[in-house]
Amino acid sequence: MAELLQNEEVLRLLELTKNGLLFAIWETLYVTVISTFFSYVIGLPLGVITVVGEPGGVLPLPRPVMAVINFVINILRSVPFLILMVVVIPLSRFFVGTSIGTTATIVPLIIAAFPFVARLVEASLREVDGGVVEAALSMGCSPLQVITKVMIPESRPSLISGFTTAFITILSYGAMAGAIGGGGLGSMALNLGYQRRMTIILWVSVVVLVILVQIFQSIGSRASVRLDKRVRKVDRKQKRKANKVEKAGFQ
């Protein structure tokens, strides 16, 4: 055992893991946070529009506009992420000045994730009781007030669960981006761990990914339940169980 630790090769490997790992975690979080942020910047309003813009909604939009929005969302959601990444490379060059590396993966991630976010937001807003919206209208709320003061606050727990799902999905898709030269834990696992057959690195990066996902999921679930005023305290534990959203892909 002591002999093994003397081994130059192994020492180098450990060194690499120690230095590389922290950096890879940082890269992964950086990509995930930025991508999630911009996915919501685009996806949240889009999700709101898909609900309020339909006929009979709070702010009905012309049918062709709605048709285009839904079409774009559906198309983007049906393109496999790996293919999307390849297709989007020229776009990355345009937006962030480079088509390889960590920052470059942010663009395809946003493009893949914002339609997913729009659908998540849509599903959350549809849970809002129509009667409450009607009550708000009867008090003289404008469409914008209905959205900001009723629909979004009333669906807050569900929006938070959705956010957790989106964040985790973006995290794991970001790892996939390692395949085309993005950084982070994914690239560490693929490039060092798999291709150079450093099995330890492969396992370490996977374990770290799993731990990250667990942490974010439990933070998200807890926040969702804690902030939900519909449940009485005794019901909370049960509600938390029910709230754990299955980890789903963009598709």
Binding site: D129, E134, M139, G140, C141, K149, P153, K229, R230, R232
Partner: protein, 334 residues
């Protein structure tokens, strides 16, 4: 004053157009408690939702204090809606806000400063009898308490009109009474015009001054509660006011008359005196009397004797009574 003029509402459906309201004319004076009754599906909810244009009539005019809501811009309509509050069968409280914040909500929309809104909200929490629930969430309240919060929310913005769509239908009889008393009290104290939608006659009797009867989208009767309830002129009205009256078809009799009491005391003395004064015995086939605002009203179906002379004598006697209307029921087959 609320005036509906020739209001019609047509819903386009899969099986063609459906006329939920047809040419409704209705006037509700300030300070009235106006009941709108009718069978399920008669169009009551649609009608009340037309008053604040939650449902836009297909044709006709909705006038509040002389201004036609149909002609307003959406901004003007929003402004008008702030003076017309509504409470619902399902309460429709904001579940993620405390009771206090719920009551503040319409004031927040209307731009009332937060501190002023809070002060008024606390006042109304007191009025509805739930001063200790300010920081509770709706999920922590019972149905009746939720409706009280909804009433406080509806009143805190100082509306001129309160619309209630089946506001007590989800509540037990005792709670219903206390909510009704609260509404009546508020009407008397603040002079708010109240429109009450219900399928329960007891609710109308308890609080309404005026009533309109809806039947398949038509307004078939309207007037003071005492007048309409003492002598419903239409089949739809009779079915609603005296639901029992329709279930007594099984008695085999020759001639049947309906005797309607318009504010007398009770019906037993009349039957007794009929037997004593003219020596005619009649069958009581069915009776349904009610107490409306302290006066007794009701109707009774009497089976007259087969003997024509006796039957005529009984008719004459009944017709000579005060506060009683007699009408023959020609199509009554035992």
């Amino acid at each position: 004053m609320i005036e509906l003029k020739q209001v019609s509402k047509v819903f386009p459906t899969e099986d063609g157009d459906f006329e939920a309201l047809s040419n409704i004319d209705l006037t509700i004076e300030d300070g009235d408690i106006f009941g709108i009754v009718g069978m399920s599906g008669a169009g009551k909810s649609t009608l009340v939702r037309c008053i604040n244009l939650l449902e836009r009539p297909t044709s006709g005019g909705v006038y509040i204090d002389g201004a036609n809501l149909m002609d307003m811009t959406s901004a003007q309509l929003r402004q008008t809606r702030r003076s017309i509050s509504m409470i619902f069968q399902q309460f429709n409280l904001l579940m993620q806000r405390t009771c206090l914040k719920n009551i503040c909500f319409p004031m927040e929309i209307a731009g009332v400063p937060a501190s002023e809104a809070k002060k008024r909200a606390l006042e109304y929490l007191d009025i509805v009898g739930l001063p200790d629930k300010a920081n509770a969430y709706p999920a922590q309240l019972s149905g009746g308490q939720k409706q009280r919060i909804a009433i406080a929310r509806a009143l805190a913005s100082n509306p001129k009109v309160l619309l209630c769509d089946e506001a007590t239908s989800a509540l037990d009889p005792t709670t219903t009474r206390s909510i009704l008393r609260l509404i009546k009290d508020i009407n008397q104290r603040l002079g708010i015009t109240v429109v009450v939608i219900t399928h329960e006659m007891a609710v109308v009797e308890e609080i309404c001054t005026h009533v309109a009867i809806l039947d398949h989208g038509h307004m078939v009767e309207t007037g003071k509660v005492e007048e309409v309830f003492s002598n419903p002129k239409t089949e739809a009205g009779r079915k609603l006011v005296f639901p029992e009256g329709a279930n007594i078809d099984q008695f085999p009799v020759a001639d049947v008359v309906r005797v309607v009491f318009n504010g007398g005391s009770s019906y037993e003395p009349l039957i007794a005196s009929l037997a004593i004064d003219c020596g005619v015995k009649v069958n009581i086939l069915g009776a349904d009397t009610r107490n409306v605002n302290g006066q007794a009203f009701g109707s009774m179906l009497l089976g007259l004797p087969e003997d024509k002379a006796e039957s005529a004598k009984a008719m004459a006697y009944l017709k000579s009574q005060n506060n009683v209307t007699v009408e023959e029921v020609p199509d009554y087959h035992g």
